[in-house]
């Protein structure tokens, strides 16, 4: 109980920090105006893509997540709950086909999530586990480097990789650049309806913007929820299972830092130098 309260307080502190970015985040998510109109609080236009080859400086916040694969194995419902929570809150449309598919968070099998790992004689249980996959919020993100408009950028305040849907021109360079298949494109109008008159967005969440067709989207680490002191939707959906641990990687006393210090974790395709902020306990 105590530990949980402590966690909560830390999360609240973190949220307060994230709250500093609230004007920028809200501005980005809600307003249609150009980004730099709010230069004082706007995210790092012009500095996106920096970071080079050195390790991240341990200053400022770098949000990250630990995903405990075993916990998702023990409770097979959990993954579905996470996906449902995220996709419904963020108005992610469901077209019911793979070609138009948009997803922010989804499950893969081990083989496809960890393509750089040997699959030879892997224990069978591992192969059956659902692996939660989402944007890695890379510290050295190739998608940000590729984007010609800075519609995809790294938040200076939290290190999360965010998007400005009003600036994106839909060139899809970022999709070619992302080595994790984390990005989806709006091939058609997500606000539309299918042949039977069913809307693609089942339950519209009026608090979060829907996207237009022709722009790219992906997980935003729930920037809009952090801004008002909430946890990311998927983390909340996991409750106190500890299946997802979220927090500041640069804070040595944060719960996520503790989990990382105590467990063996791996990252997806770390050899590419993208510095993912997602870690998996296998």
């Amino acid at each position: 109980m105590d530990a949980k309260r402590r966690d909560f307080l830390k999360m609240a502190g973190l949220s307060a920090l994230a709250g500093l970015t609230a004007p920028a985040a809200v501005h980005m998510l809600v307003n249609k105006g150009p980004f730099q109109a709010n230069a004082a609080t706007a995210a790092p236009v012009g500095e996106a893509g920096e970071g080079g080859h050195e390790a991240a400086p341990a200053t400022g916040v770098r949000l990250g997540m630990v995903i405990d694969i075993k916990k998702f194995g023990e409770n097979q419902e959990l993954a579905r709950q996470c996906i449902e929570a995220c996709h419904s809150i963020h108005n992610v449309p469901d077209y019911g086909n793979a070609k138009d598919e948009i997803k922010w968070i989804w499950t893969e099998d081990y083989e496809h999530a960890f393509t750089d790992q040997s699959q030879y004689k892997r224990n069978t249980t591992l192969h059956e586990l659902p692996i939660m996959t989402l944007c890695n919020h890379c510290d050295n993100p190739p998608c940000v480097r590729a984007c010609p408009t800075q519609a995809t950028f790294k938040s200076k305040k939290t290190g999360a990789v965010l998007m400005d849907y009003h600036r994106c021109i839909g060139c899809r360079f970022c999709m070619a650049a992302c080595p994790y298949g984390a990005r989806s494109f709006n091939w058609r109008d997500p606000r539309g309806k299918d042949a039977k008159g069913q809307p693609f967005i089942k339950h519209l969440n009026a608090d979060f913007p829907t996207r237009t067709r022709g722009v790219v989207e992906k997980c935003n680490f729930c920037a809009e929820r952090l801004a008002v002191g909430k946890q990311p939707a998927c983390v909340e959906a996991c409750g106190d299972t500890g299946a997802l641990v979220f927090g500041d990687l640069n804070d040595p006393s944060s719960p996520i830092s503790k989990v990382l210090a105590e467990n063996f974790t791996i990252q997806r395709n770390a050899a590419l130098g993208t510095k993912p902020s997602l870690f998996y306990i296998i």
Binding site: P142, T149, I169, A176, N186, L272
Partner: protein
Amino acid sequence: MIEKALSGSNRYWAWIIFLLAIMGVGGMFYVQQWNYGLGITGMSRDVSWGVYISQFTFLVGVAAGGLMLVLPYYLHNYKVFGRITILGEFMAIAAVSMCLMFIIADLGQPTRALNVLIHPTPHSMLFWDMIVLNGYLFLNVVGGWGVLHAQYKGLKYATWLKWIVYLSIPWAISIHTVTAFLYCGLPGRHFWLTAILAPRFLASAFAAGPALLLFIALIMKRTTKFDVGQEATSKLVTIIGYAALINFFFVACEMFVAYYSQIPGHMHTLDYLFWGLEGKDNLVPWMRFSVFGGAIGIALLFLARARKTEVGIMVACALIFVSLWIDKGLGLVLGGFVPSPLERVTEYYPSLPEIGITMGIWSAGFLILTILYKVAIEVKLEKEA
């Protein structure tokens, strides 16, 4: 000078109307795409670029290929190319125009295209590509048109025009280098992640561009009084042949690295392109034709020159052009997406509207080319007479 394009034979007008008709069909399909979104194409989450971007990539090469005419004439004073240099420059104009149209066709939000200028982003290769492509278009319009116009007026062209043309030479290299950099700097796309991509792009450009040019020039020899001349033809054959050989040498180098190192990521796409992967093999016949057609084309090219058969040279040029179009206009871009970073094999088939728009843009390019060439050869013939 443009009035030269406004009078012509019935055959000329029939060709123009034919091109306009295809453009009209393409335009109708584009309206559909505009209303529905890019979902009307065959592209998907896994294969997120299709024929638009692959045509764009190939045509950057055709545009850069004009260099092979401009460079010998202006830098080495190779007089024989005097009559056809303008064809190279005008081909570059048509090709870059098509490139820009293909980019616009591929954008999800075309009305926001100017965001690339409003928010300049030097770390994005697409930003640089836009600069070099528009710059190259500008240089060729000013240089090509200016020099021809001076000739039309019976004057020597101004010295500053010469500097524009000089500048266009390294610029031609830059457009294809930067276009290669769009691809070869992306982590996680093993097929593209190769330092030889830019050199390979250039080699195939220097074969494909002149091959198309020589083919058209030989057609014009039959339909108009414009003759490139024996010596220029022969020199072009040398250029096309060697450039195509170098391109295939580079392809062979890629094959060696992949299959000798046995690194799976390096082999996967080549497997998919030439043998099929996980039972998916829709590009295999094309890619094999590219290799064999290209090899036969090169052999035929030199043989036809030795035998002095013009038809042979034309067939060879067509074979080489098609071979390189498949190699770069299909295999290179589409192959890079298979398998996906998660090692899933998703195949791509262009949809009917997508093909219609693609053909419409090609027709628009040929319309520009036809008009420019009409003006060029009439001026040349008039002044030489």
